[in-house]
């Protein structure tokens, strides 16, 4: 009964930090949230691109052609740097989202902006030198797009502009009128390394899951009896990004006391949903064991023919792990409270 009452309060306005914000803070907060979503989407696709280039090179190494792998990795550096650029832009925005205090926020923004500028400038330099050194036969020699690697140069220029803007904002605008939106999410001190590693893994799985989930809607052969498997796989892929969205935009938007109260019921809901998604995936595979390869497996860049199943299992496992960790934490908090 108690759980039901809590569930009803899940969407109570007063449970969220936002209820304590003034008008300007709400506007800033909305803008940062929207930009976070936008850069998450951009990062998901650039990460997928980089993974595609990288995995092909890994395939060459596994097959014993290290020379081919090196040639291809060098050629794909703009793909990899583009992923770094967009993910770093995401981290830069994250600094606006979680700002424990103005000083720390300034430091984070400066650090992330400089990193972003370094990646973007490195890419610019690499393409120019690469063209002269013969890595590229032309600035538009093609693959993965007709304008590659020129398109990565234009991409770099956008991120250079973003980095410069962020630095100017900290140096000029925020000097007199600091960015003051309260932080969402505490900065951990205990086991920070492990926590950050897990979050990074989760972020990468979410980026992969988001792009794979969206791509698979378009590239999957839902005909020829593969529809059930297709739907089950799309659901499995979208689980990690959905869980990340719930974590960032729901759990971290809650006031501290509500976070403690809501963690356990949220974890239970998460566990049920992820078990359902996992079960759906395995049932659909059992009914259509040819599907992963015959319905199209472009969304499995991390897998070659033999390991396609393992790749999906990793994705399916991610929300389960998140839910179990949340469940353990929720139980721990409840025990503490009692």
């Amino acid at each position: 009964m108690g759980q039901v009452v809590i569930m009803k309060k899940f969407f109570d306005r007063e449970a969220f930090l936002l209820s304590g914000f003034d008008k300007k803070q709400k506007r800033q907060s909305l803008l940062v949230s929207l930009l976070l979503v936008l850069f998450f989407i951009v990062s998901a696709f650039t990460f997928f691109n980089a993974l595609y280039g990288f995995v092909d090179a890994i395939g060459s190494i596994v097959s014993g052609s290290i020379d081919v792998a090196l040639r291809d990795i060098v050629r794909s550096i703009p793909l990899i740097l583009s992923a770094f650029m967009s993910i770093w832009a995401l981290l830069l925005l994250q600094a606006f989202y979680r700002n424990p205090n103005p000083e720390r926020w300034k430091k984070s923004v400066m650090k992330d902006s400089i990193c972003l500028l370094c990646f973007a400038l490195a890419n610019l330099l690499f393409v120019i030198i690469g063209r002269f050194a013969g890595v590229y036969l032309s600035l538009v020699e093609g693959s993965p797009s007709p304008w590659y690697p020129l398109d990565s140069v234009l991409f770099s220029l956008i991120f250079i502009a973003l980095g410069v803007l962020a630095i100017l904002y900290v140096k000029r605008v925020a000097k007199d009128s600091p960015y003051v939106v309260p932080s969402r999410g505490e900065v951990r001190c205990k086991a920070r390394g492990l926590y950050c590693t897990f979050l990074a893994f989760w972020l990468l799985m979410a980026l992969f899951g988001f792009s794979a989930g969206l791509f698979s809607i378009f590239i999957y052969d839902f005909l020829h009896g593969h529809a059930f498997f297709g739907v089950a796989t799309v659901i499995a892929y979208l689980m990690p990004p959905l869980f990340l969205a719930a974590w960032e935009f729901y759990y971290h938007e809650l006031k501290m006391e509500n976070k403690k109260r809501f963690l356990l019921p949220l974890a239970i809901v998460g566990l049920v949903v992820s078990i359902f998604a996992a079960a759906l995936y395995f049932i659909s595979l059992g009914l259509d064991r040819d599907a992963p390869s015959n319905a199209g497996f472009g969304m499995f860049p991390i897998a070659f023919a033999a390991s396609v199943n393992i790749a999906t299992m990793l994705v399916v496992a991610c929300p389960l792990i998140v839910s179990i960790v949340a469940l353990i934490n929720g139980l721990r908090l409840r025990k503490k409270a009692n």
Partner: protein, 380 residues
């Protein structure tokens, strides 16, 4: 109202998720899987395989290589068969793409369409395991092959396993009304399959029973005595059997070229294909495939020539042939081709149908080099 709505919606949803759409039974529409070409003596079929365009390929560099390779082949044909002779058909035997997107597919087809006009050939594309491994819908890829003007490709909405199962009948006058002299059977050897729902690994696919049955029926339509050459992607277990028979049991089958890595059959007898075994009784002269880039070994195994094509281009991986290498397989391969300098095992394979019953096979090793390109033709 809600209960009623669900009562209607749920069965509809279940049907839409499990239905296959309107599919035909392959055995009832055998004529839908047939293309014809006019046969003539010295009919040249060039096999390109495992081109592997991917995200980190330079399509420009690869097109340059393919362009020069086609020039070499045309020159060789003109030199050996006379000025009027040409490549008649190109069989692209799988893994054209891996980790690729629509740009790669469109660029690839544009290139082959241009070359088809320039050289006057037709071409076919057979699915390899990695052609399904890209950012496009497999049905879209089939449509692109099907729509290309000079590409022979058939993928009906049917219950036959795979996507590129069709035959090209080489007839007297190029129409199905005249006698078939040779049949070219193209088969989709699939990608992979799970033995169980929770298997962490997948096995390489094999030519399935319904595909064998389909080909036997297509072959029966043109006459049991018509000689056939099959093209598909993944080597079946017969290649390994032949290798073991020669190297373990001392069999004396004619064999040639290189085998520097394993074949790709899954090694499980429960999933062994009967295609070659059945073909032996139905005038199957040869089967050519790709998939294993470091292998271009060819063997005459109990009356059927089983040959891997030469990997085309430098994408993903290929073997460097070193004349100083002491590995027995390398030594054996080098002795069979009689080449005395280092080279890369990339190029193409050319089958020439000499007359109504005989064919010749040659392997071209073609490497781009800074000074002068390496070109070696080796006869089977």
């Amino acid at each position: 109202m809600k209960t009623k709505t669900w009562a209607v919606l749920l069965p509809l949803l279940a049907t839409s998720l499990t239905s296959c759409g309107a599919v035909s039974n392959y055995a009832d529409h055998l004529e839908d899987y047939v293309e014809t070409m006019r046969f003539h003596e010295k009919f040249n079929i060039l096999q390109l395989t495992d081109i592997h365009w991917s995200y980190d390929s330079s399509t420009l560099a690869s097109r340059n290589y393919l362009d020069k390779l086609l020039q070499q082949v045309q020159k060789h044909i003109s030199d050996t068969q006379g000025a009027g002779a040409k490549i008649d058909l190109i069989e692209i035997t799988g893994d054209q793409f891996m980790l690729a997107n629509a740009y790669h597919v469109e660029t690839f087809l544009k290139f082959f369409e241009e070359k088809a006009v320039e050289y006057g050939f037709l071409y076919t594309a057979i699915w390899g395991n990695h052609d399904r491994h890209g950012l496009y819908n497999p049905n879209w890829l089939s449509d692109q092959f099907g729509k290309a003007e000079h590409c022979i490709f058939i993928d009906p909405e049917d219950n036959l396993y795979g996507r590129s199962n069709f035959v090209i009948n080489l007839t007297e006058d190029g129409t199905s009304a005249s006698t078939t002299k040779w049949q070219l059977a193209n088969l989709d050897s699939g990608a992979s399959f799970s033995e169980t729902a929770i298997s962490p690994f997948r096995d390489y696919d094999y030519i399935r029973e319904d595909q064998v049955d389909w080909w036997l029926k297509e072959h029966a339509r043109v006459g049991e005595s018509v000689p056939t050459i099959a093209y598909y992607h993944i080597p079946q277990q017969d290649n390994l059997e032949a290798w073991n028979a020669i190297h373990n049991d001392g069999a004396t089958y004619k064999h040639k070229f290189f085998k520097l890595e394993g074949f790709a059959d899954n090694g499980n007898e429960a999933y062994a294909s009967k295609f070659i075994e059945e073909g032996r009784n139905h005038n199957l002269k040869a089967a050519f495939m790709g998939h294993a880039h470091n292998v271009d070994w060819t063997v005459d195994y109990k009356g059927v020539v089983l040959g891997l094509g030469v990997k085309t281009g430098t994408e993903l991986y290929f073997a460097h042939i070193d004349t100083k290498d002491t590995d027995p397989a390398m030594v054996e391969g080098l002795a069979s081709v009689g080449i005395n300098e280092n080279f890369d095992l990339i190029g193409a394979a050319l089958v020439t149908l000499q007359d109504e019953n005989n064919f010749e096979l040659e392997h071209l090793y073609y490497n781009e080099r800074a000074t002068s390109d390496f070109v070696a033709w080796v006869k089977w």
